[in-house]
Amino acid sequence: MLEIRNLEVSLEEEDKQILKGVNLTVEAGKVHAIMGPNGSGKSTLSYVLAGREGYEVLGGSAELEGENLLEMEAEERAAAGLFLAFQYPVEIPGVNNMTFLRTALNAQRKARGEEEMSAPEFLKLVREKAKELEMAPDMLKRSLNVGFSGGEKKRNEILQMSVLEPRLCILDETDSGLDVDAMKLVSEGVNKLRSPDRGFLVITHYQRLLDHITPDVVHIMADGRIIETGGPELALRVEKEGYGALKAGA
């Protein structure tokens, strides 16, 4: 589903290389986790895949279902089925949460040549998903992420993911800022979306999220490369020994 080959990326402004040849394949139906210390390039990878400006691709490729992601605008990637759950969801005062989500959903549908969803149909869908995530109804009516707690913002990300039904979900440090209860809710929301035709890339610093979202494959990233790949036991080893030991062994 997602094929990344020798991806090398630097910051446009600083001429500083962040990704130094990343190779990664995420298959449909699988959950891949990327773990790594701060500054290893995990978040950069997620931003580059989602189409954020400010990065320069020096080499390599990234394809989603055979389509070249790196040549697409951010909105085209979204319509192609890529979803990034932000580490820091952006607050947008004056843009209504629900209006935004409906605009996004229908823009994606239109781009794919599908019929737009009617307002009542959309409302029903959103309310149902919000209930599952135990989101207060007034959160839907408020400005996008404005005045939301850290946990509420993350739940809002998962709500968007549930409604947009992407093919590939990238979760960037979704556990940061979550207490135990919120982590459980968010994880349940993610687990509900697991299906044979959907892939996940879960980026996290800590192993604890992976207690709730069990990965099929775990990658360790350090200094812009994936230095080790294994099963869920690799995450436990990191938790026990720290990243230092792995780097030394790599």
């Binding site: 989602a50 189409g51 954020r52 400010g54 605008e73 909105e75 979204a78 843009v95 605009t103 823009a107």
Partner: protein, 424 residues
């Protein structure tokens, strides 16, 4: 003070516009006083501090009155069309009764300026040229003086009750030349009126006297391709009275709006807001002068500017607090979003305060749309242009939210949306 050149320019302006005839003695005196003021002040010139950001050349070029009979067609559409209002249509500076509703609105006694100035009407005598003449503290406003000296057409409104619907003054110009309008409004205690205004005469002045406990709301749209124009509003707000104004200004060659407002009675409220949408080489100027003369006054100025191309927006906003105007609450914010390099926002905020127990603040920002917000929206599949429109709408909303009437506010939001959609 006039120089030889600016006095000559003032003479030229007066010469181009014919002297009104057959008026009452008091009106002729008011005209003569305004002529004298104008010749002493001179026409505005670029080197005047007050015109540093806006070149008055196109406003000081003498123009003959635009021909009366040219316009047979209706005046097109305005964002107010869906609202239930009593509409008075002016074409080329002339009232067109055939295109207008009957001039009848509950709680409002209305007349035509030309008729009023021929009679001895106390309220008219107390208003005409009086607020304008009092509105030159610190700076001269010569184009308003020109209006007092020459305007022949407009409405006189005395608001004694709560008007059940707005009055819409609509102006369209189809010919070349000058169109001059002057409206006089007196809101009595307990009276309330919303005045909608669309179109831009070359030179327009509204004098509004809001008596103790009265309410006046002014919503104005200046959109589409337009000739250069200068508009002045002079407002005096009595004790516990309310004055609220909102202007949507879009495109056009050059528009200068001056609002001169005095909070004359205790506990008066004066709110002035605006949204400015500029593309091409539009030059759009909001100049505001607020004077606090009494206790516990509350003034707000909220202006949002959205600019692209090589458009220029200007905001000059002053809060002047007289000695003794304690407990004044004065607030001013002006912000601009620059959608394309090449557009610019020129700002001059000013505070001048002679009372020691006041809270006055001003702020101004200029910048591009937030790239993080844009990325968030596009990463969810919202196309770039639509994402920009969402952010611009949210930005403009902070000014539109100042409008009390939700139906009117919706009409303004729709107009902003249309402008963004027209960007393609």
């Amino acid at each position: 003070m006039a120089t030889d050149a600016t006095r000559k320019a003032a003479e030229g302006l007066l010469h181009a516009l014919p002297l009104p005839e057959g008026e009452a003695g008091w009106a002729r005196e008011a005209r003569a006083a305004a002529r004298t003021r104008l010749l002493e002040a001179g026409a505005p010139a670029r080197r005047d501090e007050y015109w540093r950001f806006t070149d008055p050349a196109t406003l000081t070029t003498p123009l003959e009155p635009v021909a009366e009979g040219v316009a047979e067609a209706g005046p097109g559409t305005t964002p107010f069309d869906a609202l239930d209002a009593v509409t008075q249509v002016f074409v080329n500076g002339q009232l067109r009764a055939d295109l207008s509703d009957p001039l009848a609105l509950e709680g409002v006694a209305a007349g035509r300026l030309g008729e009023v100035l021929g009679q001895d009407i106390t309220i008219a005598r107390e208003l005409f040229g009086k607020l304008e003449a009092a509105g030159h503290e610190k700076v001269d406003r010569p184009l308003a003086m020109l209006n007092t000296a020459t305007a022949r057409e407009g409405l006189m409104l005395q608001v004694t009750g709560e008007a059940p619907k707005p009055l819409h003054v609509r102006h369209a110009q189809v010919g070349e030349g000058a169109s001059v309008l002057r409206h006089l409004v007196r809101v009595e205690t307990g009276g309330s009126l919303t005045l909608l205004e669309s179109g831009t005469p070359t030179n327009s002045v509204i004098e509004v006297d809001v008596a103790d406990g009265g309410t006046f709301r002014h919503i104005r749209v200046q959109t589409g391709a337009r000739a250069p124009s200068a508009a002045h509003v002079f407002a005096r707000i009595g004790e516990g009275a309310i004055f609220q104004s909102f202007t949507l200004m879009a495109d056009g060659q050059l528009t200068r709006n001056e609002t001169v407002m005095e909070l004359a009675g205790d506990n008066a409220k004066g709110h002035i807001a605006g949204a400015v949408l500029g593309k091409g080489d539009a030059h759009l100027d909001n100049t505001v002068f607020v004077t606090h003369s009494a206790l516990n006054g509350e003034s707000r100025q909220v202006f949002k500017n959205v600019l692209e191309g090589t458009a220029t927006a200007v905001f000059q906003g002053k809060i002047f607090v007289r000695e003794g105007a304690q407990k004044t609450d004065g607030y001013q914010i002006s912000q601009a979003v620059i959608l394309e390099d090449g557009a610019e926002f020129l700002v001059k905020p000013e505070l001048e305060i002679y009372a020691d127990d006041v809270a006055c603040s001003h702020g101004s920002t200029t910048g591009a749309l937030d790239p993080d917000q844009l990325f968030y929206l596009t990463a969810r599949g919202v196309p770039r242009k639509a994402a920009e429109a969402m952010l611009v709408a949210a930005f403009a909303d902070e000014a539109i939210d100042e409008i009390e009437d939700e139906t009117v506010a919706e009409a303004m939001r729709a107009a902003v949306g249309e402008w963004m959609a027209a960007r393609g």
